[in-house]
Subunit: 396 residues, 2 copies
Amino acid sequence: MGPGPINADPRVLRAMSAQLVGQYDPWMTRTMDETQALYREVFVTQNEQTLLVDGTSRAGIEAALVSLIEPGDRVLVPIFGRFGHLLREIAERCGAEVHVIEVPWGQVFTPEQIEEAVVRVQPKLLTIVHGDTSTTMAQPLEGIGDICARNGVLFYTDVTASLGGNTFRVDELGLDAVTAGLQKCLAGPSGSAPATFSERAVEVIRSRKSVEAGIRSEGDAVNAHPIRSNYFDLAMIFDYWGPQRLNHHTEATSMLYCARECARILVDEGLDQAVARHELHGRAMLHGLRGLGLEVFGDVEHRMNNVTAVFIPEGIDGDGARAAMLNDFGIEIGTSFGPLHGKVWRVGTMGYNARKDTVLTTLAALESVLRRGGRTVTGGGGVGAAYEVYEEAGLS
Amino acid sequence: MGPGPINADPRVLRAMSAQLVGQYDPWMTRTMDETQALYREVFVTQNEQTLLVDGTSRAGIEAALVSLIEPGDRVLVPIFGRFGHLLREIAERCGAEVHVIEVPWGQVFTPEQIEEAVVRVQPKLLTIVHGDTSTTMAQPLEGIGDICARNGVLFYTDVTASLGGNTFRVDELGLDAVTAGLQKCLAGPSGSAPATFSERAVEVIRSRKSVEAGIRSEGDAVNAHPIRSNYFDLAMIFDYWGPQRLNHHTEATSMLYCARECARILVDEGLDQAVARHELHGRAMLHGLRGLGLEVFGDVEHRMNNVTAVFIPEGIDGDGARAAMLNDFGIEIGTSFGPLHGKVWRVGTMGYNARKDTVLTTLAALESVLRRGGRTVTGGGGVGAAYEVYEEAGLS
């Protein structure tokens, strides 16, 4: 019940035990096509270029940034947590001229703050995290696509922490590039990064295309300033996933099966239903934690449905309590990074673990741990508050 | 029965269906430690920095090169097939001044050819593929470590295609950096890249260390010219796998289980036994293919044990025959890339598929396909020749 990775859905685990086939086997390429179609549903997009980057969610981020950014490009990064710093860091390593704006951890930006910076900086690319797990905040993205369109700016976001548990529709938001991961609300393991790219992003990326010497045919593109990475060269990755099937990496077959199953589970449930489930169990957890006398961190109105941060109460050894939760109750909860390290606990309710039983068990366990740590806790205060949420929702 | 990926060992597939735990769960970090120890056995090395790069084997290559190469560094790449071109391409994208030497596809280099180039170019880094699947050749690496040591050159090789099926001992060869993949003789899927680095390589990489802003503590390294990639920054990846457990990516848990099981299977069998098995079944396949009247491509003395290339005989539609193998017999064989595309078939005998039954079935099927394609083939010529090899080896 930490901020992710969490338990995977057993359907996902079983999907990975299917036997492999060759990478150009018609069944394999059909599976790739099917996975692309499923992620178009998950992302709510018509983008042809919707595919997996083979690596963890961070690999998806780097593929998007290194393929879009040419050295010297201006990039704007609004930072509201650790993963904003990561976007900055990756953009810098891509050779970008990076401009940042920051709000304190626990807050999000207003559209006006972002517009002011866009107009001032005139970047080629705006990169912002949708949900930053480090602070549990979700940045509202509504209206930012318009700001970018008006200013001729490419609009990128990473939705690893939020996808599946919070409303997110790529085309409606006017996004040009989006990356994600499986290890949060998608109920899978880390190791595959679903991503999608608008026509405008694809054009920028394709203009940088360069086919490798070992598989180059006459007339194939050779570029004097190719994308700085071969592995993350999306122009080549598009051609591998596209009808050309031009060999690039060898697709990670088991992780492909896995990513497909994650998407199937989400689409079977229905995107809106999945968001509603995360909202309900997240709210039950929030009220439950408050019922234990804990203070919620940050701007509660803007927290993600799927993770809640609370201040570690005075007098309690935060790491000791987490160890007791894990060793005595088999339940993991997290702390956070940087300025929040050792200051907060983060409790997730996501993917396969966004359930009533997991919420109630976690609250009951945490009550015991707090009491043994010397806190005065109302007996059943956490579980009771969560029950109230469930009863109100008719889930009792 | 292609050049890989091939069928995975069922033990590997089952290992991936184990439930996940959090990334700092003691069981998780123990599993990471255990995996490192297993790959030290697989690579026959004492290197502390032996770990997995989360991505396909190409990700391992890029991590090694981008972490070792600073823009402007001289790199020597002896090329004897497609994957030599890949090393050149990745080194170029890392900003290296790349020098190449080439032999025709189907041949390998003599140590003298490599020494001449090392002395002439005086590179910082020599990068060479051990086994290049595109040509089926294995470059002998004996003596090259000494040449590099004498000239103060870092020595890197990729063993994706050869590891587990051909004798390979990292420390004995004096290698500084080695990367691999699971989808060949290790009997797993693509998606995780085992890698190992000598003290000398670690020193070069650590000197370029830069800790990301989002998790930086006082006194942590900040480098004005950091490694160009964040995802492939081995200095950070070392700290994630090391006792510091400094967060970088979120380890791809299911692929970790998978990589661990691949190594366990190999260590259980014994490295020498596994090589002997690949040698035997590869030889049976070679003789069987000749028994079908097919001409073997390239310098047979230097082919890998685990894959054999034969010229597509005149009058036979190479792709049509491959389609018949797959659709009628359920057996995949491959063609190759670049100058060999459509000229040769590549038949693998690797990992879980390096077995007598798979060899004999493939030869029987290929006989039928050749005959239906209009070739005159001696009845049982392929299977008979393979049987002879098995009988000689006492495996009948």
